[in-house]
Structures are given as structure tokens and as C-alpha cells.
Symmetry: C2
Subunit: 200 residues, 2 copies
């Protein structure tokens, strides 16, 4: 498929730019992220226009980057939440009224696009389905493999809990007190061991 | 401070571009994210050159975006991990050898820059410390408020657990079986209620 000549607009940009933006941020043109882009595009078309939307993604793979590339929501600004259910679904919702839309990969619809279905369900070895072929199928499918519905997000789910901050008496860094008297690292449950030089 | 004329290079780019890139991705020039940029810059200078590095951030606020803007690691590609300890620290480590560096905001050093210290410790009301003044102080401080050390990341901490995938018999979407017979949403513990129309 000649992406450069395509007239398809996804997430407000021409197809080739849509794909370039994915590669630039994510490091490569991940098939799941291309599907994720179509999901964001559909959600943006279905949600009431002109509102400030927060986002939820239901898997830690690929979809968080679709939200981060194509909406203002990021991990670090707190407007995107990730729930790790390994569900290929995302939601955008009005941050004031909590009403919004949820979009997901509909497996029944995906069966009409065997390359996409077989890739997603791990039914075909990677070497038998080259990336270019898979991407062509994903782009051909577009939002034809997606379903959506209106939702009302439960406000209590993502309320920022104010956590009491303190200074760890062992490392003298600030931390949330919920971890106990000392921070998780100083208790020995951190992700690293000290190595080589002392702190500088 | 005239950022345009500054000769400071942070994360490989001139100061004004560094600040513009933060605003573009994060939505605004968050002070914590500017400090985070200096933290990434220091980590990149201290880690062995030319290696592929994965990242860990120890708070969900601001620092994830510093990593995502200034390194190839993102939430969606899995190269950045977030541990929610509310510690203002981040690590970069060699993804093959697991050796790396950790950088943190050193409160003792920060005391030399009262605006930065008072803002971080919530000792001054926002209206008494305008953003421009705070940003000037943060940029003046640069890496003078940071400490770093070498670390060895425990490989078992971030090993991708292969989770068994299935299809939820209620919603017919794919999900990880660890959630039970049906998925979390169908069990009634999801983050939303259905609203209005059926699925389309």
C-alpha cells in the first residue's frame, strides 16, 4: 500500500504522518499501536466535541502510547490511567461529568480480517506474517474491527488519594508514609542494589 | 532569565527547546518535569555511553514524562517502569547487564536553593512563588540539587510475567485469565457503568 498517497486521515493527520508519529515516539511501528491509533480516532469522533477528556487504557502494552501520542493525556500529567487487565480497550471521558466512550477490539469483527485476527490471537508465527503485510491489513480494517459504547466512569475509581509525604530517616529522600517508617528501598524491597561508588 | 539566549544544553538540546518539548508533551511547563529533565540529563552523562537503557521512575508524577520526552523509553513500549513510591528519583540501566545509575533530588543540596526547596516541600503558597520565578531558580540550580549513584537492578523485579490470555465469556473480549472466569469489568469491579446505547 502506498501510504504517502493515501487520503486517509487518522487522529487528524494524514496516514503517513500518523505512522511516522507512532514510530518516532514508540521506537517502531508496532501493529497494536496502529490499531490503538484507530481506536483513539474513533473515540475522538464519538465523544462530545470540544471537551477536556481524560483517558483510561486497559492494558500496559501499546495502547498507552496511542493515548500519549494522539491526545494531551500522559502518564506524567495524570490524565491517563492504566489498568492492567490485558484488555485491548480504551476510554475517553469528560473530566467534569465523567461521561464518555469506550472503544475495544471486537474479536467477532476482527475475524473478517484474518491477518489481524491471527496476529492478535497468536495463531500465526511472526515470520509467516511480515510486518508490511500485517500493517496493510490493519489499515484496510481501520475501525471495521472496533466496537464502542457510551460509559459513565465511576468518579471514585481514579480519585487522587492525598498521600502523606515524609522524609525517610535512612536515605533522607521524600517518600509517601504509607510505605512505613522507612521507604521501600531502604527496607530492602527496592528494585536495585547499590554498586560501586557512594552517592555523589 | 532569557531562555532563548541561554547557552545551556539539557538532554542534548538548547534550553528553550528543552522547555518547549516539555510543554508540548506534558501540556504545561511543570516545575517537577523541568527538574526531571535535569535528572535525565545527569543520568545520561553518568551511564556508560552508547548502551540501550531501560528506565525506572519512582513516582507517577512528572518524572514519567521526563523519561518519555528525553529517552526512547515509554509506558507503551515497556522500556519504562513506574513504581509508585512518591520518591523523586529515576534510574537508567543497561537492559542487558542491568547495571546503571540512579539520580534523585537531594533535599540537603536543595536547601541551597530556597525557592526550589520550599516549593518541593510545600512550604510556600503557590501564589507567593510565581512559576517564572520558580523556573528561574530550578534552571539556576540545574544538577546542583541532584545526587546520583551506581546501581545494579535486580533482574527479577521487572521480568515480564507471561500471563495466560483467554476470551471473557461475558463480553467476548480477550483478557488475562488471572482475573478469574470473567473479566474484572464483567464481574462488576470495572471503572465504568454502561450508559445509553448498546455497543456499536
Amino acid at each position: 500500500m502506498d501510504y504517502e498517497r493515501s487520503e486517509l486521515i487518522v487522529c487528524g493527520r494524514p496516514l503517513q504522518q500518523f505512522l511516522d508519529d507512532i514510530e518516532k515516539f514508540h521506537g517502531f511501528t508496532a501493529p497494536g499501536l496502529v490499531i490503538g491509533g484507530f481506536m483513539v480516532d474513533l473515540a475522538q469522533k464519538k465523544i462530545e466535541p470540544g471537551i477536556e477528556a481524560d483517558a483510561v487504557v486497559e492494558t500496559g502494552s501499546c495502547l498507552p502510547d496511542a493515548i500519549q501520542i494522539f491526545t494531551p493525556c500522559t502518564t506524567g500529567n495524570g490524565w491517563m490511567k492504566v489498568v492492567k487487565w490485558d484488555k485491548f480497550a480504551l476510554s475517553l471521558y469528560n473530566k467534569k461529568t465523567f461521561s464518555g466512550v469506550r472503544v475495544w477490539l471486537d474479536l467477532e469483527k476482527a475475524k473478517q480480517f484474518p491477518n489481524v485476527y491471527n496476529w492478535f490471537m497468536h495463531l500465526v508465527p511472526k515470520k509467516e506474517l511480515p510486518l508490511e503485510v500485517l500493517l496493510d491489513s490493519i489499515i484496510e480494517a481501520g475501525d471495521g474491527i472496533l466496537s464502542w459504547c457510551e460509559i459513565q466512569v465511576k468518579p471514585e475509581m481514579f480519585k487522587g488519594k492525598k498521600r502523606e509525604l515524609g522524609i525517610c530517616p535512612a536515605c533522607h529522600e521524600s517518600f509517601s508514609r504509607i510505605q512505613g517508617e522507612v521507604c521501600t528501598s531502604c527496607r530492602g524491597d527496592g528494585y536495585f542494589d547499590f554498586q560501586g561508588l557512594e552517592a555523589v
